[in-house]
């Protein structure tokens, strides 16, 4: 009796996902059609957005996924249902773009609308929920990330999305897209890298010297509270002075505005998580372990390298993860002061009220942060496994 009830009971997360899917199918437009790039668009419901076979495929996949989400508890099946939904809805929106736009009209724009986004959100939630319940090991998670990346690359390279407004925005700026992508990565990864180079030794010193620790954390906490745009402003004066008076700085491209203040600001923001987690991680090493290490005649350097750092590594990596994910997102702001990066498209798009251009900057930013989070989480797990069940 109990098992019967359990097998029929609704899954709470699943029920919410099913409702989302229901709303997306019945009450929200699947795509938006616009006669040209900047006029207001009109929504097209799913039934009008695809040829009948396409409508049937999307509806069936969505209903199947909703049913699995609400009623079936086995994570593997839920994951398969989510994958099925994603595989139906992503190509479908590309097909829809060709279907809705009048043939030969180069100005018409078709973009994904609320219905598509709700469906994508619902399937992604279902997938994330299933992956969490599966408790996959770090290697499998990395493989899943690679597979998702490959699927997206395949979708984009196959031209299935070529008619979508987003890809038309891209087609017009492919060159600058990849230039800004490199700039974005350089800003985010570079500043995080420098934060590690500076923050790890600072954290180690802070761990040893209590006074320095307090001062350090207080200063970094204050830096963290300065709004990014204000920090850019604060940096303009000293960097401008530097550029004007130190020829080498100017030769390196350092100016009051542009990439230099953005880089410095991101570096300053990421210093807090790196330093704080280094101090916390080293502080968590059990006193008995360090006492035993000292008592056996390990030098300060041997203790740090062989005992303290390995044991603190998961916590330190968690700090680097915070810094990296934060910087990948915040590097968008750099475009405001001419620092480049994906923010360039976001702010251009806002200026032109071209929402697809905004997305061209925003989607890669979110994807990068997401991938970085998964990558570093897996890395953290791998280092922790070393400490617990490497047998």
């Amino acid at each position: 009796m109990a098992s019967l009830r359990a097998s029929l009971s609704l899954d709470r997360v699943g029920a919410v996902i099913a409702v989302l899917i229901g709303v997306a199918l019945t009450a929200a437009p699947f795509v938006t059609y616009r006669a040209n790039r900047i006029v207001a668009g009109e929504g097209r419901m799913l039934a009008d957005a695809l040829p009948p076979a396409g409508v049937a495929a999307v509806v069936l996949a969505a209903i199947a996924a909703a049913a699995c989400a609400a009623l079936i508890r086995r994570p593997a099946i839920r994951l398969a249902a989510a994958a099925l939904g994603l595989c139906a809805v992503f190509p479908a929106v590309g097909v829809s773009a060709g279907f809705v736009a009048p043939a030969g009209n180069g100005f018409a724009r078709v973009s994904p609308a609320l219905g598509f986004w709700l469906l994508a959100l619902a399937f992604a939630l279902l997938a994330a929920d299933a992956l969490m319940r599966l408790r996959l090991g770090p290697w499998v998670r990395l493989a899943a990330l690679a597979a998702a990346g490959a699927a997206i690359a395949l979708l984009l390279l196959s031209g299935a999305w070529a008619d979508l407004s987003l890809m038309k925005e891209y087609a017009g700026r492919a060159e600058s897209f990849w230039r800004e992508a490199r700039q974005h990565l350089w800003l985010a990864l570079g500043s995080t890298g420098v934060a590690c180079l500076v923050g790890l030794p600072l954290g180690m010193l802070g761990h040893r010297i209590r006074r320095l620790r307090t001062a350090l954390l207080q200063v970094l906490n204050i830096v963290q509270t300065i709004p990014s745009i204000a920090l850019f402003g604060i940096l303009i004066a000293p960097l401008g002075y530097l550029a004007a008076h130190v020829p080498l700085a100017a030769a390196l491209g350092i100016r009051g505005i542009g990439a230099a203040p953005a880089f410095v600001a991101l570096f300053l923001y990421s210093l807090l998580p790196v330093v704080a987690n280094t101090i916390t991680g080293l502080g968590q090493v059990p006193a008995a372990v360090t006492d035993a290490a000292r008592g056996m005649g390990m030098s300060a350097r041997q203790r740090l390298v062989e005992v303290e750092l390995p044991l603190a590594l998961p916590v330190i990596l968690a700090g680097i993860r915070i810094a990296l994910v934060q910087n990948l997102g915040m590097a968008t702001i750099a475009a405001l002061i001419g620092g480049g990066g994906f923010g360039t498209f976001v702010f251009q798009g806002i200026g032109q009220t071209a929402i697809d251009l905004v997305l061209l900057g925003a989607i890669p930013t979110v994807a990068l942060s997401f991938a970085a989070a998964i990558l570093l989480d897996a890395l953290i797990d791998l280092t922790q496994r070393g400490a617990h069940d490497r047998d």
Binding site: P286, A288, V289, T290, D291, A292, A293, R294, G295, M296, G297, M298, S299, Q302, V307, P310, L311, G386, A387, H388, D389, R390, D391
Partner: protein, 312 residues
Amino acid sequence: MIEIERLTKRYGATTVVDDVSFRVEEGAIAVVVGTSGAGKSTLLRMINRLVAPSAGRVLVDGEDTMAIPEDALRHRIGYVIQGYGLFPHRTVAENIATVPRLLGWEKRRIAARVEELLDLFQLDPGEFAQKFPHQLSGGQQQRVGVARALAAKPALLLMDEPFGALDPVIRSRAQDDLLAIQRRLRTTVVLVTHDMNEAFHLGDRIAVMDRGRLLQYASPGELLLRPAEAFVEQLVGTAERPFRLLSLTKVGEALEPGHAEGEPILLSATLRDALSQLVWLGREALPVVDAAGAPAGRISIAQILRHGRALP
């Protein structure tokens, strides 16, 4: 041999260890007892210079420890603490190999030594060498902790409450194992505890400390029969005295000729064990046998009581 000479530690105005001197003979176990805050641990940590003395000195085999570089000194002195401080990210074998590795021993020699120690501590190398500390029971962790301290064959072993984290049953077994291994290796041991039973069980000599001062340093029997101060008498426990005294003497030393009925007692048992057995069985006397089971004589309640008196 280790000589502690007028060792003193002051932190500001407070004196934690106050002018302590004693000497531990080669191959002996000295137990330092006292209430918490008596300065026992500080005294111990001054021997391997984890704490720098304010005054006085320590000689190990006649050599002033201050003349030896800090790390080199610690490589020569085994150190076991409560909680053991095993490295959680290293296997049992890697943990035990710590000091030999620091000393730059050859790989093969280290592996052989690790195996030898695991055998000595009754941990099957095949099963335990590659395990991580968190996969071991408390008793196994304790054995690995002692094995690690003995890895580089130190002449001196310092132990700070090494059995403090064990439950009573495992603790008494661990104490017996330590005694057996110590008798075999003839390592000089200085052990700190607040447990009087442990002190009487393990110590060849017992140093009683209170508020930084050494009140008495004597054999267990002397401590019982001639306590130097009221505090020593109190710490030893007046109600426990006769039983402690009995537990210091083996049945073999109080053997009587003749026969008795009942379950035999081993020659190596203590008089305390024998008395307990006699009371429990309601007998006046029991037969005594040697380890091989051959009859050796008898032990009676009257004979035992004679050994439990303060004055013969």
